[in-house]
C-alpha cells in the first residue's frame, strides 16, 4: 500500500513540476474573487454606516489593556455577590424544610412502622440527610449563578476573557486557547479536559489538561460560597457581609488563574518545553441574551444535571458516612479512628482530620465535601455530647456554630479549606477523563498528585505563617 502511495505522490510531484503557475494561489484567489463578487451582488450595505458604535465602545472597555481585567473582576465579582446575597434565604428555607422537618418527619414515620434503629440511621441519618444537605447547599447558589454565567456567555463576553488573558498565557508558554478550556473548567473540569482538544499542539494540550483542575468547578463553587459566607462574611459588618464573601470567592478564583499560569509556565520551562503556537480567535459580536430561554436551559441543562450528579454521589456517600460513624471498633467509631489518624497531618496544614477524611470520601464528587464535613463533625460532636438522634438546625449561623464549637474551627481552618478546595486532586470523573485523553499513566498521575502536593504545600505555609504571627492558635 505504501509503495503505491509513494507512486501516487511522486506522480503528483511530477505533474506539479509541469505546471508553470503556482496552482494553490491561483485557486484561492479565484475562490475569494468569486465569493466577493457574489456577496457584492447579494448584499446592500448602504444602511450600514450607523452600526457598530455600541459594539466598538463596549470592546474598547471590556478588552482594553487597562480596564479589561478590572472590568472582568467587577463582572464576576458582581455575579458572585448576587449569588451569595440571593442564595442565603432560599438555602436556609430548604435546609429547614428538608433537613430539619424532613428528617424529623421521616423518623416519625419510621418509628410508626417500627423500623429498626440501624435502618433508620442508615436510611435517614445517612442517605437522606446527605442528599438533603447537598440539595439545600447547592441548589440555590447554582440556580442563581449558572443563569448569570450563561447570560454572560450568551452575550458574547467569554471570548473577550480569552482575549484579555491571551498575552498572559503566551507568557506562560501556553496556548491562548487555554483560557477557553479554563473557562470550560469553571463549569466542570472533565469538560475542560475534553475541551483541550481544541488545542492542536500536543505539548500545549497537555499543559491545558494538567492545569484545568485549577479552575474551580461547579462542585467547588458551593464550598467556597458557603465557607466564605460563614467565616469571612460573618466577621464583616452585616451590611458588607455578602460583598466581603463575594470578594473572597473572587480572590480564590483569581488565585486559581495565577496558579494555572505559574504551573503552566513551570511545565513549559521544564517537562513540556517549547514555544507557544500562534492562533487566531474571532471575537463574536455582542448579542442581546435571550433571558428566559437562558434561564430555562441553564436551570434544566446545568443546574439539574449537576444537582442530580451530586445527589447520585451523595446517597452512597451518606451511607458510607453513617456506617463509618456508627461502626465501632474498640469503643470508638471508624470515622473517629480515621479522623484521629489523619489529624496530625490535618493540623500541620491548618485543617483537621475530618476535613481530610471528607476529601477522601468525596473523591467521586467535590459537591459532597461540605455535607460530608458537616455530617462527620456533627456525628463526632453527637458522640461527644451523647446526643445521638438530636437534629441541629443548620442555617448559616448554626453551621458556623457547629464548625467552630464542635469542630474546633478557626478563621485559619476556613481560609485553608478554601485554598485546599482550589488545590487538591481532581475528582475521579476528571481523573478518568485525563486518562482517556492522554492514555498515559505518567500524565494522569502527575495531574492527580501535582495539585494535591501544591495544596499541602500552600496550606502548610499559610498555617505556619498564621501561627508564627499569632493569627491562629498553635
Amino acid at each position: 500500500m505504501s509503495g503505491s502511495a509513494d507512486h501516487l505522490l511522486s506522480l503528483a510531484e511530477a505533474e506539479r513540476a509541469r505546471l508553470r503557475t503556482p496552482l494553490h494561489d491561483q485557486l484561492v484567489e479565484r475562490l475569494y474573487e468569486e465569493a466577493g463578487r457574489i456577496a457584492a451582488r447579494a448584499l446592500d450595505r448602504s444602511g450600514e454606516a450607523r452600526r457598530f458604535q455600541f459594539d466598538l465602545l463596549l470592546d474598547r472597555i471590556l478588552t482594553s489593556r487597562i480596564l479589561g481585567l478590572p472590568a472582568m473582576a467587577a463582572l464576576f465579582g458582581g455575579a458572585f455577590w448576587l449569588t451569595i446575597a440571593g442564595a442565603n434565604i432560599p438555602s436556609a428555607l430548604l435546609t429547614s424544610l428538608l433537613v430539619d422537618h424532613g428528617a424529623a418527619l421521616l423518623h416519625r414515620a419510621a418509628d410508626a412502622v417500627h423500623a429498626p434503629a440501624w435502618l433508620q440511621g442508615l436510611g435517614i441519618d445517612g442517605v437522606y440527610l446527605a442528599v438533603a444537605w447537598v440539595v439545600s447547599v447547592m441548589l440555590p447558589p447554582m440556580a442563581i449563578f449558572f443563569p448569570i454565567f450563561t447570560l454572560l456567555e450568551d452575550f458574547g463576553y467569554l471570548p473577550r476573557v480569552a482575549f484579555n488573558l491571551d498575552r498572559t498565557f503566551r507568557w506562560a508558554g501556553a496556548h491562548g486557547k487555554q483560557s477557553l478550556t479554563m473557562m470550560m473548567g469553571y463549569g466542570c473540569n472533565a469538560a475542560g479536559v475534553v475541551a483541550a482538544r481544541i488545542i492542536d499542539s500536543p505539548r500545549e494540550r497537555l499543559i491545558a489538561i494538567l492545569t484545568n483542575n485549577f479552575s474551580i468547578c461547579n462542585g467547588r463553587w458551593p464550598t467556597l460560597i458557603l465557607i466564605s459566607t460563614i467565616f469571612v462574611g460573618a466577621s464583616a459588618p452585616p451590611a458588607a457581609a455578602s460583598l466581603a464573601a463575594a470578594l473572597t470567592v473572587v480572590t480564590v478564583a483569581v488565585l486559581g488563574i495565577v496558579v494555572t499560569l505559574l504551573v503552566s509556565a513551570f511545565l513549559s520551562r521544564t517537562l513540556l518545553r517549547g514555544t507557544p503556537s500562534v492562533f487566531s480567535l474571532e471575537l463574536p459580536p455582542y448579542r442581546p441574551p435571550r433571558v428566559w430561554q437562558t434561564i430555562y436551559t441553564s436551570v434544566i441543562d446545568r443546574t439539574l444535571i449537576v444537582l442530580w450528579r451530586a445527589v447520585q454521589m451523595a446517597a452512597p456517600a451518606g451511607a458510607v458516612i453513617w456506617l463509618i460513624s456508627n461502626v465501632e471498633v474498640a469503643h470508638r467509631s471508624l470515622a473517629h479512628w480515621m479522623a484521629l489518624g489523619l489529624d496530625p497531618i490535618g493540623a500541620l496544614i491548618g485543617l483537621n482530620g475530618i476535613i481530610l477524611l471528607a476529601y477522601v470520601v468525596a473523591i467521586p464528587a467535590n459537591e459532597i465535601v461540605i455535607p460530608t464535613i458537616l455530617m462527620l463533625t456533627l456525628n463526632a460532636a453527637r458522640s461527644k455530647l451523647a446526643q445521638k438522634g438530636v437534629m441541629l438546625e443548620l442555617d448559616d449561623t448554626a453551621t458556623r456554630h457547629v464548625l467552630i464549637h464542635y469542630g474546633g474551627w478557626t478563621l485559619l481552618t476556613g481560609v485553608n479549606l478554601m485554598l485546599f478546595s482550589l488545590l487538591h486532586n481532581p475528582c475521579s470523573t476528571t481523573i478518568m477523563t485525563i486518562w482517556r485523553e492522554t492514555r498515559s499513566r505518567k500524565w494522569t498521575w502527575l495531574a492527580t498528585l501535582l495539585p494535591l502536593a501544591l495544596g499541602f504545600g500552600v496550606c502548610f505555609l499559610t498555617a505556619t505563617a498564621a501561627r508564627t504571627f499569632g493569627w491562629a492558635p498553635r
Binding site: R20, L27, D44, A191, V194, I198, R302, I305, T429
Partner: protein, 278 residues
C-alpha cells in the same frame, strides 16, 4: 476501508437501499439504523450552527466524538414529514483547504462521509468570508442547502441580504434564518427534505476552468487516485489537492489514511458535563 454506499436517490432511503444491512457498508462513525437521510451541518465558527442544530433536533441530542479525532461533534435526529434524519454538527471551519485538526474533521466528513444533504450555515453579517466555504462545498456536492443565519443581526447593522440573488448565483436553495428566534426553520426543513428526496436539485457549481494543461494533469492524477482508492468519493478534489501539494492531503495519502478518520463507532460521552463556555 472503502467508502461505498447506495445511491440514496429519490425516496430510496437507507433501508430500501440494496446494500442496507450489509456489514461491509456502514456510514462512517454514525449509527444509521432506521434513518432515511444523513445531514451534515457545516459552517464557519460562530455562525450559529449549534443553534440551528438545536432548533432542528429539539433537545434530543447527545455528544459523540470520533475515535482518535480531536474535537467533539454532536449528533442528533429529527423527522420531516415522517422521514427520519440524522444530523451531524461539524466543528466550525473556514475552508476545506485548511490544516487545523478540527477543520479536517469537518472536511473529511463532507468529502468522504457523503451526507445526503450538507447544510452550510453562513453568517449574514460576514457574508464574503463565509461564502468561501459555501462555494467550496458546492463544488463537490449538488446536495446542499445554504442557510443564511443571523439575518436579524444583519438587519440591525443595516445590511440587507438579497437571498434570491444569492440563490441564483450559488445554484442552491438559500434559506434566510434567524435561528435564535426560530425564524426560517420551517423553510429550512422544507429545503432539507426537498434536497434529500431529490425534488430540489442544486445546479452543480462549475468547477473553475483551470486551462487545458492543468486539466490534463488533473485527469491523470484523478485516475491514479482512483486506482489507489477505488470508489473514493471526490477523487478529483483529492487529485487537485495533491497537484497543488496540500500538506494535510499529502500526509493522508502518504500514510494511507485518506478518507479515513470516519471509521469506527461513535463514542458516547457521559451527558456532556455542564460547560462554562460555548
Amino acid at each position: 476501508m472503502r467508502l461505498r454506499r447506495g445511491s440514496g436517490d429519490g425516496d430510496s432511503g437507507c433501508q430500501s437501499c440494496p446494500m442496507a444491512g450489509s456489514a461491509a457498508v456502514h456510514r462512517p462513525g454514525l449509527s444509521i439504523e432506521g434513518c432515511d437521510y444523513v445531514v451534515a451541518l457545516a459552517g464557519n465558527p460562530n455562525t450559529g450552527k449549534s443553534t440551528v442544530f438545536n432548533a432542528l433536533t429539539g433537545l434530543r441530542q447527545h455528544v459523540g466524538n470520533w475515535p482518535g479525532k480531536t474535537v467533539v461533534r454532536a449528533e442528533g435526529a429529527f423527522r420531516i414529514d415522517g422521514k427520519k434524519f440524522r444530523i451531524v454538527d461539524l466543528p466550525g471551519a473556514y475552508s476545506l483547504l485548511s490544516n487545523s485538526s478540527d477543520e479536517e474533521v469537518a472536511r473529511d466528513f463532507i468529502l468522504f462521509g457523503r451526507p445526503d444533504v450538507t447544510v452550510v450555515v453562513v453568517d449574514a453579517t460576514t457574508m464574503e468570508r463565509n461564502l468561501n466555504l459555501a462555494l467550496q462545498v458546492l463544488e463537490i456536492t449538488d446536495r446542499a442547502v445554504v442557510a443564511v443565519n443571523l439575518m436579524d443581526e444583519a438587519e440591525r447593522k443595516g445590511i440587507r441580504v438579497d437571498t434570491r440573488a444569492l440563490g441564483r448565483d450559488l445554484g442552491a436553495p438559500v434559506v434566510p434564518m434567524a435561528a435564535r428566534s426560530g425564524l426560517g426553520l420551517p423553510e429550512l426543513r422544507a429545503a432539507i427534505l426537498g434536497v434529500a428526496s431529490g425534488t430540489i436539485q442544486c445546479r452543480i457549481h462549475p468547477a473553475p476552468d483551470l486551462g487545458a494543461e492543468v486539466e490534463a494533469s488533473l485527469a491523470r492524477l484523478t485516475e491514479a487516485v482512483l486506482a489507489e482508492y477505488p470508489g473514493l468519493p471526490n477523487a478529483r478534489w483529492v487529485a487537485l489537492r495533491l497537484l497543488e501539494g496540500d500538506p494535510s492531503v499529502v500526509r493522508e495519502a502518504r500514510n494511507g489514511t485518506l478518507g479515513d478518520g470516519l471509521h469506527g463507532h461513535v463514542v458516547d460521552e457521559p451527558a456532556a458535563a455542564p460547560t462554562g463556555a460555548s
